[in-house]
């Protein structure tokens, strides 16, 4: 293991760094934890959304009369009677809202599964039946949902980073290279498919709007509702105590907005829960990508030319960039270096952030191409990557805040037994199976965003932390308990962390792998100041002593650097080329992901990310039917995520890598686990069979069609 200088004054023997079971764990294993749709409300009405059955056109009519006569039906909201919303703003994350959430504002249908009405009734059964019975007529228009490389209407788009970066003469360098890889890679439309459907209950209570929701940031959603409904910020409260997974999909969506509209119209609490099928068109997804990677290297594998272009689709109503070309801007330098993210607008639902947006599909293409280059150069894939480690950000020129990728590879190679690997493909057999191993590198930005927190010392000697953080399964509640305990220099048992309430003030969302880092910073700042203010031996007044923090200034003062978590992924697969079945037999990931706050939950997150990598490599694919423009098989039997049986024992570990510029030393590890994981699996499939699979998922029919050595 490597060692690095310790960070900050809180780095001492304490709670941080020691495994701790989840503080809400008992509630979760006994069923006591209440998620958004679990909280009882008196006089609750139930809303059920009606979605368009055409992919493009206009609504001609919404025949509400028959439905309003059905048992229990209270109202039908649609573009003809819904209140007007304001969507002309830039939200907390620096982007305008996806108009898919701003329901019932006009008669235009931009994609199949667009929300056209909400039926509200006394019971869920009544609402659902009435929603199914509601007749909506459409004027159909021709649609175009055909995503593929080479679309003439594709255009470069910025998103959260510049669309294009470029240096050097790419063609000249490529022409001069001893080894060139020039390949196209594709990844399909993928869905978050978190287990808990989006659900919200809205009600007005004493002039305040309260929304009990499942989301990744209560202040984020509250801020959107304030702006969309033109309300006073103090008039909106969003709560989200437990969240059954988010992965980027749980921001403002049609369910909250339509629930607020209905609760306002009916003056009673209204709950809207999306069905699994509705989630496939209303809650975002990862766009399919078509990528081209060109690599040119010297005889010894040193890169002279690198080009990575990535195309994704977006809707006609919202521009979302899946920046697949992003990883190349961090991972590898070359004399000629060009990266570009492009989008094409189609009559499809809006895509959105999904676990490691850009990095997940981008790393598949880039790290598979690196493996191909290693093969051509006759250089070990790990050695090739080590030879091409950049000293500074290849595009930014900034120094790295830490670059421990080599340490990850060395430790991973040792534990995986990489040194014994025969590089030749297609030569390891076990009965009808072909065996192979593969590796890939991973990286994900480590960011911090301004947050506020409050820490209160209570008279009974305990402490309460209040922060509008979200625990979407990351273990944030537990991590913040440990961070606060160390900052306060008390045992974790004396700290209670309350999260998921917009009344706690602005805070970073659970996203961008920046939640724990951002929140820990704010909690540490408030807790340390509180500790300074507590007089030893003096009694705490009955109302307690509260200190608030705001990290805006501190984070704004950070020196610009390339800040990333890194990792090395290893996979072993068995391929049955007679049936096309691919099984991952073992997987190892070693990461440099900052200081590890809670080893127990950190390992779970990394393993979870790697599991996503297996799922992405072998199973996940939403199929869009060109004739209808909708998805084929939009449910969890049609959209395959990995099951227990697909996932072997996975090892995840880390090297010492605290961030010197973070008060706790945290970087972030919610997403880096998936990065490179699919490439490691695909590279292992090549090593097993000798066949490169450049389109995901590596389905049995693809393996069968590709053939392979006779067994």
């Amino acid at each position: 293991m490597t060692t690095a200088p310790t960070a900050g004054r809180t780095t001492r023997a304490g709670a941080v760094g020691t495994a701790h079971t989840r503080v809400e764990g008992r509630d979760k294993v006994t069923g006591a934890a209440r998620y958004a749709a679990d909280l009882p409300f008196a006089d609750l009405a139930h809303g059920h959304l009606v979605l368009s059955t055409v992919a493009r056109g206009r609504i001609r009519s919404v025949r509400t009369a028959d439905v309003l006569d059905m048992p229990g039906v209270l109202t039908v909201l649609h573009h003809g009677n819904a209140p007007r919303l304001d969507t002309d703003y830039v939200g907390m994350l620096g982007v305008p809202p996806d108009p898919t959430a701003a329901v019932f504002q006009h008669d235009r249908i931009p994609h199949a599964g667009w929300p056209v009405a909400l039926v509200v009734a006394e019971t869920p059964e009544q609402a659902r039946e009435a929603a199914e019975a509601l007749v909506v007529t459409y004027e159909r228009q021709p649609h175009d949902t055909a995503f593929h490389a080479g679309r003439p209407d594709a255009y470069p788009a910025d998103g959260h980073m510049p669309a294009v970066t470029e240096k050097g003469d790419l063609e000249a360098e490529l022409a001069a290279c001893a080894h060139v890889v020039d390949e196209e890679y594709t990844t399909p439309e993928e869905h978050h498919a978190m287990m808990e459907p989006h659900a919200a209950t809205a009600r007005w209570d004493g002039g305040r709007l309260e929304v009990v929701d499942s989301n990744q940031g209560t202040t984020w959603v509250a801020d959107d509702l304030v702006r969309m409904f033109s309300l006073e910020p103090s008039a909106v409260r969003v709560r989200s105590e437990h969240v059954g997974g988010g992965f980027g999909s749980k921001g403002l969506r049609a369910h909250q907005v339509s629930a607020v509209m209905a609760a306002t119209a009916l003056r009673r609490p209204v709950r809207v829960v999306l069905t699994r099928r509705q989630m496939f068109s209303l809650t975002g997804y990862r766009s399919p990508t078509a990528q081209r990677v060109r690599l040119g290297a010297d005889a010894d594998g040193r890169l002279r030319a690198l080009e990575h272009r990535s195309l994704n689709q977006t809707s006609t109503v919202w521009e979302f960039v899946e920046p697949g070309a992003g990883p190349a801007r961090v991972m590898y330098d070359a004399d000629a270096h060009r990266t570009a993210n492009e989008v094409v607008r189609l009559d499809v639902p809006s895509p959105t952030w999904m676990r490691a947006p850009g990095e997940a599909p981008g790393s598949f293409a880039l790290e598979a191409a690196l493996d191909e280059l290693a093969e051509r150069c006759g250089v070990d894939p790990i050695e090739l990557r080590l030879r091409n480690e950049p000293g500074r950000g290849p595009v930014s020129g900034l120094p790295f805040a830490g670059h421990n990728l080599a340490a990850c590879f060395r430790e991973g190679a040792r534990r995986f037994g990489w040194a014994d690997r025969d590089p030749r493909p297609g030569v390891r057999r076990e009965g009808r199976l072909l065996l192979g191993t593969g590796t890939a590198a991973a990286s994900f930005p480590a960011g911090a965003m301004p947050s506020t927190a409050a820490v209160t010392a209570q008279a009974d000697g305990t402490f309460t932390v209040r922060i509008a953080a979200a625990d979407i399964g990351t273990g944030a509640r537990t991590a913040l308990t440990l961070v606060a305990a160390d900052a306060l220099r008390v045992a974790p048992e004396r700290v209670r962390v309350r999260i998921g309430d917009s009344d706690f003030g602005p805070a970073m969302i659970a996203g961008g792998s920046a939640g724990t880092r951002s929140w820990s910073w704010a909690v540490t700042a408030a807790a340390e100041e509180l500790r300074d203010r507590l007089v030893p031996g003096a009694a705490v007044p009955p109302e307690g002593i509260t200190v608030r923090s705001d990290t805006t200034a501190a984070i704004g003062a950070l020196t610009p650097k390339e800040r990333h978590s890194f990792g090395a992924q290893f996979a072993e697969v068995a391929v049955d080329v007679t049936t096309g079945e691919v099984r991952v037999r073992r997987m190892l990931g070693v990461f440099a992901a900052g200081r590890i706050v809670n080893p127990l939950t950190a390992r779970s997150q990394l393993v979870g990310g790697m599991t996503w990598g297996i799922s992405m490599a072998l199973h996940e694919e939403a199929v869009r039917d060109r004739a209808s423009g909708g998805l084929y098989g939009a449910d969890l039997a049609g959209y395959h995520v990995a099951t227990h049986a697909d996932v072997p024992a996975i090892e995840a570990d880390w090297v010492d890598d605290p961030d010197p510029d973070d008060p706790v030393g945290v970087k972030g590890l919610g997403e880096v686990g998936i990065v490179g994981a699919a490439a490691a699996v695909a590279n292992a499939v090549w090593h097993a069979t000798g066949v490169r699979h450049r389109s995901l998922p590596i389905r049995p029919d693809r393996v069968l069609r590709a053939g392979g050595p006779r067994v």
Binding site: G633, R699, R705
Partner: protein, 330 residues
Amino acid sequence: MREFAYRRADDVPGAVALLGGDPDARYLGGGTNLVDLMKTGVERPARLVDVRRLPLDRIEPTDDGGLRIGATATNSDLAAHPEVRRRYPALAQAVLAGASGQLRNMATVGGNLLQRTRCGYFTDVTAPCNKRAPGSGCPAVSGEHRNHAVLGASDHCVAVHPSDMGVALAAFDAVVSYETADGPGELPLDGLYLPVGDTPHRETALPAGALVTGVTLPPAPVAARSRYRKVRERASYAFAIGSVAAALDVSNGVVREARLAFGAVASRPWRARTAERVLTGAPAAEEYFAAAADAELAAARPLPDNGYKVTLMRNLVVAVLSELAEEAAR
């Protein structure tokens, strides 16, 4: 889901009488398929007759060495039954390869045979589908058909039957018994499912209002050495993209008797009689297994995106028969 009336039947004649041949009524077994279809709007019955508690859940060896399986026996009970595992191991394996532990606890044998296709156009009420809405068309032929039929399909429908259990039952000459208001009847499993033709909405030869009461497996000593192998797009909890139920009796290196049935390639469990004929009397060797598979698959009519199933089935037949032959030689 529309509102519906519900009655629980106490005995078989009572169940048949309660249904009364009403086209808007359905028998409710385990509900694993019907309730789902009601939620998606594919089925909109006005009445349900619950047959789950009928005394039809027994699994009994017959005197001649066969097996009589009640229609309301659950998949789990069938797969766990010692006589099933002893006499027809491929049947136990097929059942275990289907669905999940939870669904197998609920699903009944009768319901399994009568379950509907999982074709994504059939289950999406906004899509055309000749099986669900006769005459509306089949989008799968020119659309998404990677997991659709290569045998026995027509231009009107290329959906596959999703059952695993049925594949093994087909291999072992199962006979389905049923009850109607006019008395009991029987159909060989092979004859239970109608050809697709231009009437894919007509799926079985059961008389209207008939209640499946059980399945009888005739004695089949060959089944003692049998195997079910299923391929799917993930390791578990998914429908097959191809499967084989096979039994082999080998003596002195020669096949004396073979049973072979395919799953996920046709609108019904596909008994591979052509392949069986080729195998009988042939040497128990890979090349003959392949020839038998090729003979059966000569009738395959793949679409642009499901031709891999022909390769898959050929490979599966060779693999499974080779394993059984090896076992026999031990």
